[in-house]
Amino acid sequence: MFEAIAFYLFAFLTISMFYIAVTTQQALYALSAIAAGMLFISAFFFILGADFLGAVQIIVYSGAVMALYAFGMMFFDTTREVKEKHGNSMIVLGLSVLVAFLVVVIFAVPLVSGNITALYPIVEGAGNTQEVGMVLFTKYLVPFEVAAIMLLVAMVAGIVLAGKKMDLSLTLMNEAQIRDMRDEENKKVLS
């Protein structure tokens, strides 16, 4: 009973939050709504016993990612009302209603093939974090490492794109300009 109440409550909350996030004209509202929605989602994780995931959700999403967005928002100066031209909203509406309808209808059909044998069963008595760790560092060791590489890529990419003279075009500058620029850089380093 508790579970049902919690489910519907959080379902209602997340849906409304996300709905606000995609419809509001205020960027700040959208951001806040998203952040709130993320938090509510972590609630689902806790309900479902995925404590580790819930924690990560809060830390990474509601924390890191949202902070990034917030930073971006300030950088782009979109805290004011966002003016968007909406061409044909009927298409958007139609498509999304159709998606929702179809997917929901299908998902409402109970899965026939119920008795799935769990490959990595949740072990009674062990904490969720422990279990996750166990699987993560055995079975999913490689993906985990690749994910690390991915994060490295993202970092390098972020640095390159946002930081390293991307506002200049080395393609179009001539040699002299580049030399001057280098010299200036060196001077900065020396001073």
Binding site: I116, A118, A126, V142, P143, M150, V160, S169, T171
Partner: protein, 502 residues
């Protein structure tokens, strides 16, 4: 309580990780080199990359050897899967990368090549693709895919022009949507089978006789949406022309080869078991995709005014053509896919490299874009050798025998014929004919029109350097003498594909 896990090192089969680790190490090395001494010439990084890729290629040969002896190898908790498909596709990925990366050695300076990060990201991307093809675990596929994609977006953007940023943003945004589709698709598969490993999924689904067909279809739909984006199937292709146009020609050529072969491998792994288990719907849908992608992309390519954009549409069309292999799903068709792609790689390497050496920094008045057709007008007069070579590549793309792509088409259409897809074979043939027009258009410009008055004479050697010319020569030789390559390739590919059970 959890039991502690004892894992013996041998059982991990770490050798399966070796080919992917090499480019990663290379990338890190490049980053570190830059840390110690910045501002070094791009040639250093190009050569470092090539060296690592060659070593990678060597490691692949080793894997191939192992595969030939022992068959399919699983490794590192059965996440890694080294079968014929993985090896073949990695050969293409690494091989193509080896020939594409030296295209950075232009005689003119371009923005992106002054960053060591460019090369590091390039190598990371290769590792990502390698992971993507060498596993049947959807998680690793997903992570590998994202690694590669994120690097690729950045590489495109680093070309540092308005158009390349626009291209990167478009690609990125659609990629994000595609990632969401992928995860949704995987989720449904997981819901269906409790597993994210394709083999396991196949087994479970076969076990319950596709009882939840509606769920299967939803999963397939979203997977198609995601892979369709990667493979640029119509209507998920819209990014491709813009991205090709926005990125540098060398990068565009690369994109037409490597990411797609990775995508094809994943598509092959996911869809073929479904087709073979009689999911008629998927067969119909793939049929539609193949036909629509080939035909529509051809039609759009007809009306292009820019050669690179035309080649983008042509690549879409070729992808549709090759997608037929997955639809047909016989050993021959799967082998044809690889054969086609190897030969396609040669030709596209050549044609994009030709565009690349003729790239000007500023667009002259008579051109509307980087490579608009009239730039090539009368090329036979100004630079005959370049014109003839470019003509060769165009003929090859059009499927004129005996140039490279003809053999691919031949084998592919034959596989359709052998599997009883008569109509499909005819449609494929007719599409090749339509495609003839736009390739011919370039030939017409090069050979039959007068040069634009006052055009730069030297535009076709604008950017060339010895490495670039050698690569073009290599591609040209490969394109012309492909008929020698075909037999060993077919034999090699078929044995690998067959032994992997496809």
């Amino acid at each position: 309580m959890l039991e502690s896990v004892n894992v013996s090192l041998e059982s991990l089969n770490l050798i399966t990780l070796l080919p992917m680790l090499i480019p990663v190490v290379g990338a890190l090395l490049i980053l570190i080199t830059d840390l110690f001494k910045s501002g070094q010439d791009k040639s250093l990084y190009v050569m470092l990359s090539v060296i690592f890729l060659v070593v990678d290629f060597g490691a692949l040969l080793e894997s191939a050897d192992i595969f030939a002896k022992n068959g399919t190898v699983l490794g590192v908790f059965n996440v890694m899967l080294i079968d014929g498909l993985a090896i073949l596709s990695q050969f293409i990925i690494v091989g193509a990368s080896i020939v594409f990366i030296p295209l950075s050695l232009t005689s003119k300076r371009f923005h992106e090549f002054s960053y060591p990060e460019f090369f590091a990201l390039f190598l990371f991307m290769i590792a990502g693709f390698q992971f993507m093809v060498a596993t049947d675990n959807l998680i690793l596929i997903f992570v590998g895919l994202e690694t590669a994609s994120l690097a690729l977006y950045t590489l495109i953007a680093m070309h540092n022009r308005d158009k390349s940023f626009e291209a990167a943003v478009k690609y990125f945004t659609m990629g994000a949507l595609s990632a969401a589709f992928f995860s949704l698709g995987s989720m449904v598969f997981y819901a269906l089978t409790g597993s994210v490993e394709i083999n396991q999924i196949a087994t479970v689904l076969a076990g319950n006789g596709y009882a939840d067909i509606a769920y299967v279809l939803i999963a397939v739909t979203f997977m198609l949406g995601s892979l369709g984006f990667k493979l640029s199937l119509v209507p998920f292709h819209t990014w491709a022309p813009d991205v090709y146009e926005g990125s540098s020609a060398s990068m565009a050529g690369y994109m037409s080869i490597v990411p797609k072969i990775a995508g094809f491998i994943v598509a092959m792994r996911i869809f073929e078991f479904l087709i073979h288990s009689g999911v008629v719907w998927l067969e119909v849908i793939l049929y539609l995709f193949v036909v629509v992608t080939m035909t529509a992309a051809n039609m759009w390519a007809l009306v292009q005014t820019d050669v690179k954009r035309m080649l983008a549409y042509s690549s879409i069309s070729h992808a549709g053509f090759v997608m037929a292999a997955i639809l047909i799903g016989t050993t021959q068709s799967n082998s044809a896919l690889f054969l086609y792609w190897v030969l396609f790689a040669f030709t596209n390497l050549g044609s994009f490299a030709m565009l690349w050496i003729s790239r000007q920094k500023n667009i002259p008045w008579y051109q509307t874009s980087d490579h608009s057709y009239n730039k090539f007008a009368g090329m036979i007069k100004t630079s005959p050798v370049a014109a003839i070579i470019m003509g060769l590549f165009m003929l090859s793309l059009a499927g004129v025998p005996p140039f490279a792509l003809f053999w691919g088409k031949l084998y592919m259409i034959s596989s359709a014929v052998n599997a009883g897809y008569t109509l499909l074979a005819l449609i494929m043939a007719l599409n090749s004919a339509i495609a003839g027009y736009y390739y011919l258009k370039l030939i017409v410009y090069m050979f039959m029109k007068e040069p634009v008055q006052g055009a730069e004479e030297q535009v076709f050697t604008n950017n060339s350097s010895l490495p670039l010319r050698s690569i073009i020569g290599f591609a040209a030789v490969g394109t012309v003498f492909a008929f020698i390559l075909v037999n060993p390739l077919v034999e090699f590919i078929t044995s690998f594909v067959y032994n992997s059970g496809y």
